[in-house]
């Protein structure tokens, strides 16, 4: 593996029966990069991501994540990545603190470390007042931020975000992206799927998936030049129309 590439994918394929959800995709992601993984619904984004985080077996092809092979070393990968799903999965009937403690616990953090982390996290997000409230009583935007911070609790090398901004307002989305920048700035690689094209502009590089294949991969600027488009939305439409 090249030194500064934290994800290397070569010919990764997933078949469900006759249907090819992911068709021989090849790409790499550099350390500290914000990598946007774009595509329409059903293009195969989530399936590809599930293979990278070790909960779905590839049909063929190779992938190396954080220095480990997805086929043979999935358990090692799990220790080195964070994951946030589109459902912002936290436990509604647990308080903010209890959620943090629980997720810190399953990543094997020491009690002292968990305490440190949760104080820091609550301070950073300005959650002092609601630290002991049930998560279920908080607005969606807050849940989303907490969920993101929780996915970073064990200082993973890479964090995978699966449509992290679904259903929240533009202001909260903006704030959320500030959190992402901060994490990237601290050296965490961010792998994010989205179908908001304005968000694609925030990424260092983006790949666009159409029907299971990666049809374009470059910086937003170069993609716009290449497709002679005004914005990413335009790029996406041109690609999707074929």
């Amino acid at each position: 593996m090249e030194k500064n590439k934290v994800i290397q994918v070569e010919g990764l394929t997933k078949n469900f029966g006759d249907f090819t959800a992911v068709n021989a995709i090849t790409f790499d992601v550099k350390k500290g990069e914000i990598f946007g993984f774009l595509g329409a619904n059903g293009a195969g984004k989530t399936t590809a991501m599930k293979m990278l985080i070790g909960i779905s077996n590839p049909s063929s092809g190779k992938a190396n994540v954080a220095g480990f092979d997805v086929q043979t070393e999935a358990e090692e990968i799990k220790k080195n990545i964070g994951y946030m799903s589109q459902k912002f999965a936290l436990y509604d009937d647990l308080t903010v603190k209890e959620n943090i403690t629980f997720f810190g616990g399953i990543y094997g953090l020491s009690r002292k470390k968990i305490k440190e982390k949760s104080t820091l996290l609550i301070e950073e997000l300005g959650l002092e007042k609601v630290a002991n409230s049930l998560v279920g009583s908080l607005p969606l935007g807050w849940k989303q931020k907490i969920s993101f911070s929780v996915s970073l609790i064990h200082d993973p090398k890479i964090v995978f975000l699966d449509e992290p901004t679904g259903g929240v307002d533009p202001i909260t989305r903006r704030q959320f992206w500030e959190l992402i920048y901060k994490a990237a700035h601290q050296g965490t690689t961010v792998f994010v799927t989205t179908h908001y094209m304005d968000e694609a502009e925030y990424c260092d590089r983006v790949s666009i998936m159409v029907n299971g294949k990666i049809e374009a991969l470059d910086t937003p600027k170069k993609l716009k030049e290449q497709f002679n488009a005004e914005d990413m939305n335009d790029v996406f439409l041109k690609l999707a129309r074929g």
Binding site: F16, K50, I53, G54, I55, S56, N57, A74, E75, K78, K79, I81, Y83, S85, Q86, K87, A89, L90, Y91, D92, D93, L94, E98, T101, F102, F103, G105, I106, Y107, G108, L134
Partner: protein, 368 residues
């Protein structure tokens, strides 16, 4: 280990913060055992009867006194005419009428034969049957007392003994059944719901992406319910001993161990259900329809298995509850040890291993 404790703690938060599940866990067992114990009963007590006495002599009076002295019957009224019989039945309160023939005493002495008609209201066949049996028993008893010392030629007197439950208390039958239902419900339904809940919320995905192994997740989810089910079993046994005077003839330790085995069987079933259902509602429906009904209908809890048609008898063999009921009845009522119930125990054990094996196979370690 530390991860495991954290996981269990979280599980208890879920349980104790959800009033509904708390009620199912602890309210229902107590309510059910009290309901079954007090309200639903096959015994008869103070049944209202009417007397139509055509002879009104010493013998009939004695018999009537005997009947009214028993705790099973209370005499509601005396009627005078045959056609009143139907009237009292139609009013509904009286469940049986005793009709003594004319010259009852005289016939008995002269011809050694006197007739009494027992008419019962068979709109409820079980009660009617029980009433006529009880009346018969009281009459036999009376005759025996009268004939003391008299040697009769050629007479067969059956000496019936009801062993293990001489008073035919229905509580003895319901307690094992209710215990089985509750352990099945709490263990299988609650675990399957709590596992599918994580699937529905998406937290299962997060747990599977974490370094926790899938079997650790499942054990973490199931463990609290083992603990709560054991507490439930203890509550039921204590209630039945102290409130319903249910005996425990055999070893309490054996009873406890067998209960734990059955709890694990039910938990394995719960895990299996959670692997095939995507939502909490599906899990609940499958648990209720697929587990509760067979437990109630086919386990021999209410309807005796030997009087079922053959296909149902065969099916009843695959119901874990059937074997558990045999086991606890054996221990509680007959006081048997493992030497008499090892076969049933082995069957339960086999089923448990089978269910666990099947759910491990079904459980998709890597979510598709």
């Amino acid at each position: 280990m530390k991860r495991f404790i954290g996981f269990i703690k979280k599980e208890f938060y879920h349980i104790f913060r959800d009033r509904r599940s708390l009620f199912i866990l602890f309210g229902m067992p107590i309510a059910q055992i009290l309901l079954f114990g007090f309200a639903i009963t096959n015994e008869i007590n103070n049944v209202d009867i009417a007397i139509l006495d055509h002879s009104k002599d010493a013998t009939t009076k004695e018999i009537i006194n005997k009947i009214s002295a028993s705790k099973y019957f209370s005499i509601n009224q005396f009627i005078e005419k045959e056609k009143d019989i139907e009237i009292v039945f139609k009013k509904g309160k009286v469940k049986a009428v005793l009709n003594f023939e004319k010259d009852f005493s005289k016939n008995l002495i002269k011809e050694n034969n006197a007739n009494i008609q027992v008419i019962t209201d068979a709109t409820d066949p079980n009660t009617a049957n029980t009433i006529s049996n009880y009346v018969n028993a009281i009459l036999q008893n009376y005759l025996k007392e009268q004939n003391k010392g008299v040697v009769q030629a050629y007479k067969i007197i059956p000496q019936t003994h009801m062993v293990y439950n001489p008073e035919l208390k229905s509580v003895y039958m319901f307690v094992p059944g209710v215990m089985t239902i509750i352990l099945m419900l709490v263990s299988a339904m609650m675990t399957s719901i709590s596992i599918t809940k994580e699937k529905e919320l998406g937290t299962m995905e997060i747990l599977l992406v974490s370094p926790l192994k899938p079997f650790q997740v499942i054990i973490g989810k199931v463990f609290p319910y083992i603990f709560l089910s054991i507490i439930n079993a203890i509550i039921i046994i204590v209630l039945s001993i102290f409130i319903f005077k249910m005996p425990v003839q055999g070893s309490l330790i054996l009873l406890g161990l067998e209960s734990i085995l059955f709890i694990i069987t039910a938990l394995a079933l719960g895990i299996l259900i959670s692997t095939i259902s995507a939502t909490q509602q599906t899990a609940m429906m499958i648990s209720l329809m697929g587990l509760m009904l067979p437990v109630i209908l086919l386990s021999g809890f209410i309807f005796p298995i030997t009087s079922m048609p053959l296909p149902l008898q065969v099916i009843s063999n695959i119901i874990p509850a059937k074997w558990f009921i045999i086991i606890i009845k054996g221990i509680m009522l007959k006081g048997v040890g493992l030497e008499f119930i090892w076969k049933e125990t082995l069957i339960l054990l086999g089923m448990t291993v089978f269910f666990i094996g099947l759910s491990v196979k079904k459980y998709k370690i890597r979510l598709e």
